[in-house]
Amino acid sequence: MTLSATAIAALTLTACGSDKNSSSSSSSASGSGTSAAGTASAKADCGGKNSLTAEGSTAQQNAIAEFNKVWGQVCSGKTLAYNPTGSGAGVDQFIAKQVDFAGSDSALKDDQVQKAAARCGGNPAWNLPMVFGPVAMAYNIDGVDKLVVNADVLAKIFQGQITKWNDPAIAALNSGTNLPDADIKPVYRSDSSGTTDNFQKYLAAAAPQSWTKGAGKEFQGGAGEGAQKSSGVVQAIQATPGSIGYVEKSPAAAAGLKNAEIDSGAGAVALTDDSTKAAVAAAKVKGDGMDLTLDLAALYASKEAGSYPLMLATYEIVCSKGYDADTAAAVKSFLTVSANQGQANLSAAGYVPLPDSFKERLLKSVDAIA
């Protein structure tokens, strides 16, 4: 019995050893490959353990999948297991030390800050806004190819105060467009979602005089019909003439829906990579430490020309200190690769590639993780 057990142990040991050898040799090979290709100027530090775990927001799921793919290419053998169970569950699992970091649609709340610090061995946890997802105002009106709205109009539409497309408030923003005398059918997300939360926060910040319903993950506007998930919203807008709804950029684009432009006071802005990048670049951070909790109200209420304000900001919540050395190195490696090489195909996945100024600030925080 003992003999066979030691034999098995020896076998596993040798297996482990050979595995390590092969992975380290291939990682150096691929590392030189990327630098030769010149895809990224930043050096990839591939230290730390090979598999990370994270859990949380479904909104950043596709971005994380893209980051994970790139991380595996840049640092061979590295994988992140991301479990998209929702922001609340992600933060709970992070605090319970079940996962290495959390993905969340909102920064840690006051009562969570203490618990997160306890999880990190008495060090504060940081909110790092890695992923920005633009939200489109998709609409379906026959014969209207360009529609301009603003936060005030949106707030009134989604509260049932503006009910016709040819309402003077809409017509004032769309001079030259022939708007039909048809009912507006607002479409909202009926399941609990960060998109709804951010949409309501946007209305509350940009049109405080009109939007009186507060925020939260469930829609509270009082008008319209709700559809299940992004796919349901897209289907509802396609099927319902006269409808308008908020949905992430990529499903709206995939379905070929028309997106409204938003006029924050400095002219109509369409939803493009440039206009969303401009909004992220202008985003302000609360405080001046390494924690990068965004001042979303300022972002949403921004009147800057050429910036599209309606977007979903999601965070990675990490320990500033208190990881073991292996985990800290791997978390840093993942976040660094994500912020650099990971941005290349992010736009195709429906997210905003980070502008350089913002990326530098983010990387400073990532570097400070110990």
């Binding site: 609340g88 979602s193 993950k217 099927a239 319902t240």
Partner: protein, 347 residues
């Protein structure tokens, strides 16, 4: 003995003639459940008895445990509810868990309405299928056809939901628009709070649900219809009854209680159906108004829509309280069905 003479005379067209035919044959004595009274009980008997009793007790314990769990989780949330739980039908606000607003009025109405609508659609069709398969179809056909109906029950409900919203709803659209336009004097076809053209209405959902509960009702009904005593059918035929008269005088009276219990099983499934309704039905912000062109939530779909974001026991408790009401509703419906079937059997 006089009864026996009557057998030769009844008019097969009489509704009760099947019973007249059946009554002369005495019911067999019920088999005693304890025939071996006083006999030596073997070990195998003891073990089997223990297993059977254990299984019986287990199901009671499980049901009771579910009820207790739901109550235990629901009560703290109900204590923080600022609305009347049974009479509030508006939007649920559970963001601030110290002062939540939730109630089941709309959920109860939508759940019952869509389920009953589905039942009304499915029951006649199920009766037709069961009658055809047991009485009309050639023997070679009835087997495969029966399997095909049963296969409907094997389709996952997510598939029904996607089919309902993306395939069925566009097909129904002209019909639904016509009903809404021409029959809107009837409350059922009034314009509701979901777009008729969009298709996410109780009208679409009820039809999808009817297809989903069809195999259950059909299977139970068919099994009971098959049991119709051969003698009664042959007697009716011998008296010159047509096929339809045979069905009316022997099969239907004999199988009615089975048909009703099948329908109640179907209703139970309809009340608890989740994913298909979640996909098809549009959420609404306005109160339910008893039209087929409303949207809304059922108990189960409301819970499913929010379940991924349960991050607080009080918030979860609010939804579990709704689950508790559904649990009780299903329990009551099943008890009523049992009572109805038992009442008929005793007559």
């Amino acid at each position: 003995m006089t009864d026996r003479l009557d057998v030769t005379t009844p008019n097969p067209a009489d509704a009760g003639s099947g019973e007249v035919l059946a009554s002369p044959f005495p019911e067999p004595e019920p088999i005693s459940t304890n025939p071996s009274k006083g006999a030596k009980v073997g070990l195998g008997d003891k073990i089997f008895r223990g297993l059977a009793e254990g299984a019986g007790i287990l199901i009671v314990v499980i049901i009771a445990a579910i009820g207790v769990f739901l109550l235990w989780r629901a009560i703290p949330a109900l204590a923080r509810n600022k609305e009347n739980f049974f009479l509030f039908g508006g939007n649920w606000v559970t963001t601030d868990t110290s002062a939540m607003h939730f109630g089941i009025l709309d959920l109860l109405q939508v759940t019952v309405f869509v389920s009953v609508f589905a039942l009304v659609l499915a029951m006649p069709v199920a009766l037709g299928i069961a009658t055809f398969l047991t009485q009309y179809s050639p023997r070679r056909l009835s087997g495969p056809l029966g399997y095909m109906v049963d296969l409907l029950a094997a389709v996952p409900s997510i598939v029904y939901g996607v089919w309902g919203l993306y395939v069925l709803a566009p097909v129904l659209k002209p019909f639904a628009l016509w009903l809404n336009k021409n029959l809107d004097w009837l409350f059922l076809f009034k314009t509701g709070n979901a777009s008729v053209a969009g298709g996410g209405t109780i009208f679409t959902a009820g039809i999808v649900l009817a297809v989903m509960i069809l195999p259950i009702i059909t299977a139970v009904t068919r099994e009971v219809f098959v049991q119709t005593p051969r003698g009664q059918i042959e007697a009716a035929l011998a008296l010159g009854a047509t096929r339809w008269e045979v069905v009316r005088t022997t099969v239907l009276p004999f199988g009615l209680s089975g048909y009703i219990s099948g329908a109640m099983l179907g209703l139970g499934r309809a009340l608890g159906e989740t994913i298909a309704l979640l996909i098809v039905l549009r959420g609404t912000q306005k109160a339910f108004s008893w039209t087929l062109f409303d949207g809304g939530y059922t108990f189960a779909s409301k819970i499913a829509a929010t379940a991924s974001e349960f991050n607080d026991q009080y918030k979860a408790g609010a939804y579990i309280a709704a689950g508790l009401v559904l649990f009780i509703l299903t329990f009551v419906v099943n008890s009523l069905a049992r009572a109805a079937v038992a009442g008929r059997g005793a007559k």
